[in-house]
Symmetry: none
Subunit: 208 residues, 4 copies
Amino acid sequence: MFRTKILILTDHSVVNMSPRTEEQLASLKDSKRKLIFDAALNAFSERGYHGATVGLIAEMAGISKGLMYSYFKSKEDLLDELLVYGLTRMGEFLSFVPKEGISTPAEFEAALRGMIGLYTAETNFWRLYIIIVLQKNTTPKFEKLMEEMIQGYLGIFITYFKHRGVPNPLAEAMMLGSVLDGIMFDLMVAPDMYPVEDVIKLTIKKFA
Amino acid sequence: MFRTKILILTDHSVVNMSPRTEEQLASLKDSKRKLIFDAALNAFSERGYHGATVGLIAEMAGISKGLMYSYFKSKEDLLDELLVYGLTRMGEFLSFVPKEGISTPAEFEAALRGMIGLYTAETNFWRLYIIIVLQKNTTPKFEKLMEEMIQGYLGIFITYFKHRGVPNPLAEAMMLGSVLDGIMFDLMVAPDMYPVEDVIKLTIKKFA
Amino acid sequence: MFRTKILILTDHSVVNMSPRTEEQLASLKDSKRKLIFDAALNAFSERGYHGATVGLIAEMAGISKGLMYSYFKSKEDLLDELLVYGLTRMGEFLSFVPKEGISTPAEFEAALRGMIGLYTAETNFWRLYIIIVLQKNTTPKFEKLMEEMIQGYLGIFITYFKHRGVPNPLAEAMMLGSVLDGIMFDLMVAPDMYPVEDVIKLTIKKFA
Amino acid sequence: MFRTKILILTDHSVVNMSPRTEEQLASLKDSKRKLIFDAALNAFSERGYHGATVGLIAEMAGISKGLMYSYFKSKEDLLDELLVYGLTRMGEFLSFVPKEGISTPAEFEAALRGMIGLYTAETNFWRLYIIIVLQKNTTPKFEKLMEEMIQGYLGIFITYFKHRGVPNPLAEAMMLGSVLDGIMFDLMVAPDMYPVEDVIKLTIKKFA
DNA sequence: TATGAATGAGATTTCATTCAT
DNA sequence: AATGAATGAAATCTCATTCAT
């Protein structure tokens, strides 16, 4: 996983980090706001922030340019909220990590498969995410959420590796993070020819 | 490593793929063209293609906007040539891989350290490269060069793993590629706190 | 007083120029229409016609944008009607000028104080009024009303100055008009530090 | 004259308040910047800030919209600079007030005629000026310049009235200021029918 | 070669007005 | 009667590209 600042947390308190209640997210379903989010996610992730015009996003959302501005203060604001929304949504889906952390190889595998599953399911979000994270000036709100998320997972894996008696648990967890990042990236660039299953098995063999 | 289309090449013909002679590259040294390339590399990698304005690039290169257009047909042309130039230059630096391929763990380590060294030395190029690769519509020239390069290295590692009697050499090579991609990415996002040395050692332990 | 076209009327027929009966005005009290008028008066006088948005006016009036359009054909129409309404309302308040005109210094003083009192009481209307009058394209209805009003007062003062044997009654009346306009303007710009009472006394001394 | 805050200065130090050297102003002559200033002055004074579009101003200046933005950061910035430029320019023209202040009726008359001459010569600037001053949110730079200018003239007249033994010199000066403001305003609204000469003579009779 | 003023197409943003509810 | 979501025209602003010097 990516990291921006590393504060190792060895407890697992972070998994349930979503500040939004499920109702709030549910209320977004089928709303116009959701339409715009989806369109913007596609547009931004395919063309980058500057390459995706408001006009294009509006067209993809099936609304007028003007209407966008009654939902979002500006294009920049749209990006901000989209990132936070996306990250929060990711948090929602991360139910495959048990609250008590992971301790057995079976749990490790489940977590691994869960995360990689997310990558394939939400390619657009992760693509956007990479683009944004590589550019300067991320928004503070987004950065904070990211950090929480990253450190949460890092902590979980550190604990796991400690538990398994691995010599350098931190390095092990960070390398695993890089593996996951690399897999995400490669799946993004060439999803069709990547031997995911083989790589997952190898990863389990080398890390679990 | 990144891949876009995978044609496994098991020979090592690719390392010296650059069609440009060294003289051609040398002639670039200290030229205006080089100045522009450097400026554009910084600007594009920091702000993306659309976010980096021609005016900014010219300013960073210390020349006028007008002059840029006697060196490059257009902004798009500048990006094209920059990418090819960068990739070619990468090829130049890849001297750490012996022509006959690698066969011992020591050679493996040398190659690994060489590549990771490249990431830290040429961060901007790799950042630009990632941004471009994640977006559609790469230029054909660039795509071809990339493919050659990637498959070359993939082939080298496949051969190495075969040689070492590893069960599934392709998957092993692809996972190693992902590890390298992940490390590159993490180094890009948070270079200061990434335990490179520890991760390199772990990678050698797990792959060499 | 301001003038746009000068037709000297020496009779005093103008004071009660309003074609609206008091009932008509009374029917406006507390109506939605009145709410909108008040809001529009504030908005227009503070920000000018183009600077005051329909949305803002609606918000200030505590109603929806949509409802505004069942009371007024358009924003321009709202301005038109507001101006006429305001001017008519001014006429209502101008009771301090006796029907037979003024002939004694005491009456002069009363009229003077009455008008200046109006300025301080209805700052917003006069501010709007100035803004509109300085810009081209006033509406004909409004222009006609204005002219009637102005010439009425001008006539009253001309008669007064004639009566008092002043050499050039027209010039005297016009200068007095300028004094009143200047006072109105200064009161608008810096009401707190203007020595109104002193200036009134001086005006009486110089003109009555 | 208008005032916003009143600090009575009884010396005459303010007349030469222009911070720009004459060369700087001269360098503006015939420049594109000057063209834009002139166009903007006309447009703003005729239609107000929001009513005058950047497109219109550019057209009146005979340039493209785009070019405006290499001379001025924004429309608002254009207004700001225009106001300061105009006020500074006014200061330049105010040579009819002797450095030592005014003390004789002849000098009073010269000053009066000078100022009224300015009103007729630079109608557009004063119209713009009024429009701006009646609206909130003037720029601080402009406000400061205005205050200097106003207090300067106020001080000059206060000194004059003191010198002439007038009972309440401050009130007298402020009323005279209102007279001038009123004349300016009336000249703006109906220049053709205003009996300027007669009113000037009356003003001299009543104040000098 | 070198400049940067100038353009115009297109991007972002605003807002009067309409209309389904 | 009342709302405010929705539109589209027009406003502000940006920027790749050209061109006179």
